[in-house]
Amino acid sequence: MVHTLVNFHIFPLSHRKKLTERSEASTQVSEFSVNAEGEGEKVKLSDLLGKMEKTPKNLNKTKKQLKDLEKKSDTLELPLSRQEKEKIQREVAYVKTSTEVSRWESVVTQNRNAEQLVFPLIQEPSGPKRIEQVVSGWKAQTPLEQEIFSLLHCNLQPTHDPVLTPVEEASLKAMSLEEAKIRRAELQKARALQSYYEAKAKRERKIKSKKYHKVQSKAKRKEFLKKFEDLCKTDPQAALEEFKKMELLRMEERMSLKHQNSGKWAKSKVIMGKYDLVARKAMQEQLEMNKDLTQKLVVPSEDEEQEQEEPKALPDFVNDPEPVGDPANPWMRGQLSAEALGPEVSHEVEQEEEEEPENEEEALLREFEQKRRLRQSEDKGFEPVVSEEQEVDEAENREAEEELSEKGEKDDEDGLAEFKNLFNRLVEPVILETGEEQGDEGLEEGLVRIHSLDDTELLANDHEASLVEPVPSDTSNMEASACPPSKNSKKVKVIDPSEVLTKQAKVIKVPHAPMMVEDEEVRNEQTTIIKEAFAGDDVVSDFLKDKRKLEEDSMPKVVDLTLPGWGEWGGVGLKPSRFKRRKFRIKPAPLPPRKDQKLPAVIISEKRNAALAAHQVCQLPFPFTKPEQFERTICSPVGNTWNTHNVMRKLTAPKVVTQMGAIIEPIAKDDFIKDKNPSKPQPNLQLTKDSSLAKTAPPGHKRRKK
């Protein structure tokens, strides 16, 4: 149908199409011989699409959309007015551009903060360039060249990419500052770790506690056994060898006469054994061990155990440090050791004392041990984390319970030590409060500490006289200062010249009295001056009047904005209401106090020096945030008279340095937004001349010099 219509319009007369003949009766007959085919159907929007589109898929979709559109009954909203549309567009554009621009902010601030910018920022590496870099796309052509290149190839000399030999690369790397720094840091760390490890090992080696070593060796042994068992399962051959080794060790042990009662210690024990149960027991133990060792046993594991028993010969508590509550307080230490310990322990102490002269080194070591313990106990007090050594102690205690149940005494002793520690900690604050009063009073005679109100009373008694004296003088001063100057009275002021010109004159004796009479001219002049000066003899009052007038003039005036007759009756003899007058009277803020407020004989002008202000800085330059900062900076001299040469050069270094002949490209976005395209090669930071510059300036940005 559309087709026909179109034809009808386009070809009006000459090329008229043949009229279709009517072959059947129809109700609706067009006057213009137009067919009424498909009559009664409404033309739909989608029908119009049919001939235009070729892709059926889209067509269907569009058709559906159009249908939906037709179905909608409610009216379409009016399109926005131009202004509103533009407003929205502007807003969107603003957001977009502001985000775009804000990306530059960090770079800009960085550049502004930089002490010096060297352009172009991406600089070629200094030094001679290789020929390959300079002449790219150059090929060996002559036979000589080819020969050379073949030689280079032979020697693993890369020609194009990479241009450096591995050796050269390594050397370059060795030369690079960053690498060197990293390497140095690594070395430092390694060295530090080593020293820590060494210190630790040394400390552990120095630990005198037999218990500790016993536990250590036991743990080692256990581990070894475990390994051995594993070895038995996996590699019986190796296990056998190990076993042989162990056997050899045992044999050596047996051969040595270590556990006979021949040692120094053992001899002493023999002597002591007569009186001391503990010593006797220790002796017995050693004898038992000897027996065990000398017995020929088939089981090797038992031997090992006995071997382990060996270092335990000395009862451990002998070496236990004396638990000290407060090392700084010798008072406390003595007291506790005397009172809190039982008779047994005191005995042990004696024993220790006997031993001490024998080996001073041991004593030293013990001291260290004591310190260690102390530290430990402190740690306990501050944090509940159990330290390594403590763990060891605990493990040892457990073992002691398991194996040496007969050594009840020792456990008791341990408990005692713990109790002592605890007690010390409890007692400490008490000592601080009371102990000082008792003990320290004798020591510190110079200082008198007041601890309670009673004490202060005592003090007062002591220094009564000295305290009483200053009080009246103070009060008298107060009175003197309190009596107000009568100047304040607003009525007729009586000016006391001595108040204004405060200084009292001192008479100077003059050796030569003036003899000569001054010139007549001068004298005449002076007489007139004197007449002027003493006209009223109220030079002072005149001055004060002037000053008062100036003060009044400089006071801000009250502005009265009342309109008489506005909102109420006005006229002669009528005043605006008080409320109105108060409301419309504008009181200006009071001025800051005058500089000469406290100087009666001085008038200081409050005018600002506008001429000077023209030369002053009125807006803080960029990096400064406070005027004080700026003032301090600007006041410090720059020249070489006041500074060292280096400082002066640093102070006067130009803000921007450009290389002659170098092209300075404008700053590019790609250079500073890294994350967007990480594929892009980053410019090499190390290659910039100044490392500080490389830090301050963004990696690859260029900027046009202004």
Binding site: Q504, A505, M515, M516, V517, V539, F543, I603, L612, I634
Partner: protein
């Protein structure tokens, strides 16, 4: 051709013989006597070989520093030493002006200006000096040739030269304080002080502020930037006779008709010491090391440490031949120059001068070349008069005045408000198109522009 008339009295008008007689200089052979005197001493030195020559030289040099110039004819003398202390300028009340290189006693020039001389002052170097004469201010070169007669500066009584600003400050009898920029020869400012005759004047070397003493006992401080006094202090109950400020600018010493001598702390504007002198001091001067000299009639007294402890008696006293009119310590020398009615006396005051001079700033032993270079350098480093104020370090501070204040100043300076925006006034149209509604519409059309302009002006200026 116009027939030329012959001048019946060619040349300058002759000066009456009697008047010339009045101004003829006195003893001519004074200098000869002086040289004879020097010769005598050198002879003495040579004769007594037993004394160490160095000591003799010292004695001789200090002896040479004491001398009298007997100039009784031309009345009380005002004087001024050059800044390096080599040259002395003497100005007699009755017109006698002479430049002397006082250490070698060489007379550089000597003129009689044939007029009353109120004050003399060296300018920035020894090549020029200013003389305040009866009516105008004159500038002469060291040869005595008149360079300028400055008619803008009349009835000058006292002068001060501000070396770093190249300003010559003058105080006149009509109460005007004027500043002359010597480097360009222009008047910087003229301030009518309204304080009467300005006969007492000094400068604060620290901040180049001019101190004036007044008959009503006040001392006022002035800078060329402000038409009113920076500070006014009531110092004396009678007129102020003389005042002086020390090198550091911390202390001011004044003397008044009430016969008092007062020391003020200029940082706090508070009196530190007050002394009563039986005769009162007519002239005051402070040396580089802080010695104070005061003259009473014909007696010159020197005091030590007047502001520290209260002084009981003078350090030195000396009687000269006539009433003292001018006092000045010679820089870098232990010498006090006294100008009086009978001539000039150079007296020795031990410990007065600064022994350690800064050769880069002021070098008494500078060569000719150095002096020339110094002149150029100081000219290049000339400080603008705008920077004169009570606190010389103010330039280094940030101007914290609000925007409004600055704007107000700008308006005052320009005479109009540069930011004032004229309100849009719609043109009157005919044929009923200027109905109030239409006018409003037109106004509304440009309202936003108005707003924008205002914003721009207030935020970006």
């Amino acid at each position: 051709a116009v027939p030329q008339k012959k001048d019946p009295f060619p040349g300058q008008a002759p000066i009456p013989v009697e008047r010339v007689k009045k101004f003829v200089r006195g003893d001519v052979d004074k200098v000869d006597a002086l040289s004879a005197w020097i010769g005598q001493y050198t002879l003495l030195m040579v004769e007594s070989a037993w004394l160490d020559t160095d000591i003799w030289f010292d004695i001789l040099f200090s002896l040479l520093q004491y001398f009298n110039l007997n100039l009784s004819q031309f009345g009380p003398y005002r004087l001024d030493y050059s800044r390096a202390g080599r040259h002395l300028l003497l100005g007699g009340r009755r017109g006698h002006v002479s430049c002397i290189e006082w250490q070698s006693k060489a007379l550089i020039s000597e003129i009689n200006v044939m007029e009353a001389v109120n004050d003399v002052k060296w300018l920035h170097n020894e090549a020029m000096f200013a003389v305040a004469q009866k009516k105008w201010l004159y500038v002469y070169d060291s040869k005595g040739v008149e360079l300028h007669c400055i008619r803008k500066f009349n009835d000058v009584l006292r002068m001060e030269f501000l070396p770093y600003h190249f300003l010559l400050a003058t105080a006149s009898s009509s109460g005007f304080l004027q500043y002359l920029d010597v480097s360009v020869g222009k008047e910087v400012t003229a301030i009518g002080t309204k304080m009467g005759r300005l006969g007492v004047m000094t400068q604060n070397p620290h901040n180049a502020v001019i101190h004036l003493g007044h008959p009503n006992g006040t001392v006022s401080l002035w800078s060329p930037n402000q038409k009113e006094a920076l500070v006014k202090m009531l110092c004396h109950r009678g007129a102020v006779r003389s005042l002086t400020v020390d090198k550091t600018g911390m202390y001011m010493v004044t003397s008044g008709l009430d016969r008092k001598l007062k020391v003020y702390d200029l940082r706090a504007f508070k009196p530190l010491q007050s002394y009563f002198l039986p005769a009162g001091a007519a002239c005051l001067s402070l040396s580089q090391r802080g010695l104070l000299c005061a003259s009473m009639g014909d007696v010159v007294q020197v005091y030590r440490d007047v502001w520290g402890t209260s002084v009981k008696k003078p350090y030195m006293a000396h009687r000269v031949r006539g009433a003292v009119a001018g006092l000045a310590f010679c820089p870098f020398e232990d010498v006090l120059g006294v100008g009086h009615a009978e001539g000039f006396t150079s007296m020795i005051v031990p410990g007065a001068g600064e022994a350690n001079f800064d050769g880069m700033a002021l070098n008494p032993y500078a060569s000719l070349r150095q002096r020339q270079e110094w002149e150029v350098k100081t000219l290049l480093e000339k400080v603008q008069p705008d920077l004169i104020g009570l606190d010389p370090s103010m330039l280094g501070t940030v101007d914290r005045a609000t925007w409004q204040q600055k704007h107000q100043e700008r308006v005052q300076a320009l005479g109009f408000d540069p930011l004032a925006h004229e309100k849009f006034k719609p043109r009157r149209r005919k044929k009923g198109r200027s109905s109030s509604g239409a006018v409003e519409k037109r106004k509304r059309k440009v309202a936003h522009e108005d707003q924008r302009v205002k914003k721009d002006k207030y935020y970006f200026h």
